[in-house]
């Protein structure tokens, strides 16, 4: 006689949250794991130094009389205008600090999943490849925006507070959009850049070196090629130079090099497109033949 089996599914009475953001657990875990690293916490805190310096500069600019003896003719440096913001966003140190934060905090985003074969756990759950990538990208967005958009908006607000009027805002009403636009550009670019490099190795340390290496080497290559060919177009080989060109354009400033900004946008877009293709191919469950 056949076994009679009890249909024993337990009826769940709990509250099922609508899965509007299926990628959120990926983001949450990514951020949590980054902040577990002591070294990362120190780097992350240090990455706010430029914003603090620029905030102090902003305060001084409104109290020029009080700081006259310290400034001694260099008050032009802290003339608050869109250029001041462009300088904040495109200076080498901020870009380098963003790379530093991402290398230590996000370098292992995919590499660690590959190392621990976690992809098969994720993809055997209600999570698509798109959700997975959005989740990882959001971790990078969190770090980049917290170092760019947040201080940028805070600087504008403090400028208005220190000045005690809306004159600055009325003079440059498009400035918040520039801040958000360039922050978004950095987020998208670094998102693809870091995820691409994170997907090429299972070793997060190797990825960390790659993130730095590619960033710095591209600039070195630019210097060498410029020396050989004597043309500013060689900047297209440099990641930071392209970002600075794009930043200057978005803040309405004179471009640092005599090359149309559209070329830099095209190079950055091409890197993102290439990364998307590679990620699409690399992000799949580990294929083990057994």
């Amino acid at each position: 006689m056949a076994t009679v089996r009890e249909k024993g599914y337990s009826h769940w009475d709990g509250h099922l949250i609508e899965r509007r953001f299926p990628w959120w657990p990926i983001t949450r875990t990514g951020i949590q794991l980054a902040f577990r690293k002591k070294r990362f916490k120190i780097i992350f805190a240090g990455a706010f130094i430029p914003s603090v310096v620029f905030l102090v500069g902003l305060y001084i600019s409104e109290r020029l009389e009080d700081f006259k003896t310290f400034l001694q003719g260099s008050d032009r440096l802290i003339n608050i205008s869109p250029k001041y913001f462009a300088t904040y966003f495109t200076n080498d140190s901020l870009l380098f600090l963003i790379v530093l934060v991402l290398a230590f905090g996000a370098g292992g985003l995919i590499a660690d999943d590959l190392k621990h074969s976690s992809l098969q756990l994720y993809f055997s759950r209600p999570l698509s490849k798109k959700d997975y990538l959005i989740g990882k990208m959001s971790v990078i967005a969190f770090f980049v925006l917290i170092l760019t958009a947040l201080p940028g908006i805070v600087l504008i607000i403090f400028k208005l507070i220190f000045a005690g009027s809306f004159k600055f805002f009325l003079q440059y009403p498009w400035l918040p959009l520039s801040v958000l636009g360039f922050s978004a550009l950095l987020t998208v670019f670094f998102g693809f850049y870091v995820l691409l490099l994170s997907s090429v190795s299972k070793n997060a340390r190797y990825v960390l070196i790659l993130i730095f290496g590619v960033y710095i080497f591209s600039n070195v290559l630019y210097g060498i090629l410029q020396g050989i060919f004597r043309t500013p177009y060689m900047l297209l080989f440099s990641v930071p130079a392209n970002l600075q060109q794009a930043g200057a354009f978005l803040f309405g400033q004179t471009l640092p090099r005599a090359v149309p900004a559209v070329w830099s946008f095209a190079v950055l877009a091409a890197i993102c497109a290439l990364s998307a293709v590679v990620l699409d191919r690399k992000i799949r469950s580990v294929e083990v033949i057994k």
């Binding site: 089996r5 599914y9 709990g14 509250h15 074969s117 993809f123 759950r125 209600p126 294929e287």
Partner: protein, 308 residues
């Protein structure tokens, strides 16, 4: 009965390596054992039915719904992979609660389910330890816990018993059978035959990416009629017994066991032999101590089918 999991002409290859070759298979409620040596295609098949890979040819459906690119389907499927899949620096608790978040449960529900799953696998006391410090058996159990924590109706278990000590194996076998008794579907793979035998008699034999046979063990045995059955008869006078069978055309071969009391017969017609054996034993007045079919186990079936 409608198949819970259905694969139709499923093929998957990795470059020039064929992982799975034209597999058509239906898996129903209860426990089904997927048996084959390493490299047979078991994990490939499991990855295809858990939607982690796209088949090159063919389709796979779960409860009539296509698997590939259908993440919502996995609300009701639990998968326990063979390899360790952990971030070593998280605790068992964090591992489980983190994975439960993908199902959209509220916070309290996540904690309740994680606690229940840890209780099922007996890891409650170790929930706050880093997975780095877990033993092989504990790692297997936490993997099993993540597969059942969301109460799936289908469980896909890839070599779940590997690395467990005998006691751990027995506990896990009991758990898996408990899931079957609740009316769930369990597909479990192994290359260790006694493990599958302990779980189920319904097996799928897979080798070199092909399904060699499927059904329960006696059914599979019927499929290999070309290979003679081995029957061992321990009696008071095995030579007298052998003399009675010498002229029997259904007998392929007879040998005597090393103990001098056992006659080992190879025959294509097992039922006929057993029918005759009763009469012969009665006629000759031979005392029979034991009749066994030493090859009527999974190992023998498997070896016959893969041509060993």
């Amino acid at each position: 009965m409608t198949a819970v999991i259905a694969a139709a002409s499923l093929s998957k290859w990795y470059g020039n390596v064929l992982g799975l070759n034209d597999v058509t298979l239906e898996i129903e409620d209860g426990i089904t054992g997927l048996l084959g040596p390493n490299g047979a295609g078991k994990s490939t098949f499991m990855k295809l039915i858990t939607g982690q890979m796209k088949p090159n040819i063919g389709t796979v459906t779960v409860r009539g719904r296509k698997v590939w690119n259908n993440p919502e389907l996995f609300q009701g499927i639990g998968f326990c992979p063979e390899q360790d899949v952990f971030y070593e620096d998280v605790t068992g608790w964090e591992f489980l609660t983190g994975l439960l978040r993908f199902y959209g449960y509220a916070g309290t529900e996540i904690r309740d389910r994680a606690a229940r799953a840890l209780d099922i696998v007996g890891l409650t006391a170790d929930k706050d330890r880093l997975i780095r410090g877990y033993s092989r058996g504990m790692r297997q159990r936490i993997k099993f816990a993540q597969a059942v924590a969301h109460d799936p109706s289908i469980l896909i278990l890839d070599e779940p018993l590997s690395g467990l000590d005998p006691l751990g194996k027995r506990k896990l076998i009991r758990l898996i059978k408990g899931f079957r008794d609740q009316g769930r579907t369990v597909l479990v793979s192994s290359h260790v035959l006694p493990e599958i035998e302990a779980l189920t008699s319904r097996i799928v034999l897979i080798h070199q990416g092909k399904i060699l046979a499927q059904g329960d063990i006696p059914y599979v045995r019927e499929l290999i009629e070309a290979h003679p059955h081995q029957i061992s008869v321990r009696s008071s006078d095995p030579r007298a017994l052998a003399a009675r069978f010498v002229g029997d055309p259904s007998i392929q071969k007879m040998t005597f066991g090393p103990d001098g009391r056992t006659l080992v017969v190879e025959t294509h017609k097992r039922d006929e032999f057993f029918g005759r054996l009763t009469g012969v034993v009665l006629e000759a007045g031979i005392e029979v101590d034991e009749i066994s079919s030493p090859d009527d186990n999974l190992q023998s079936v498997f070896e016959y089918l893969v041509g060993k």
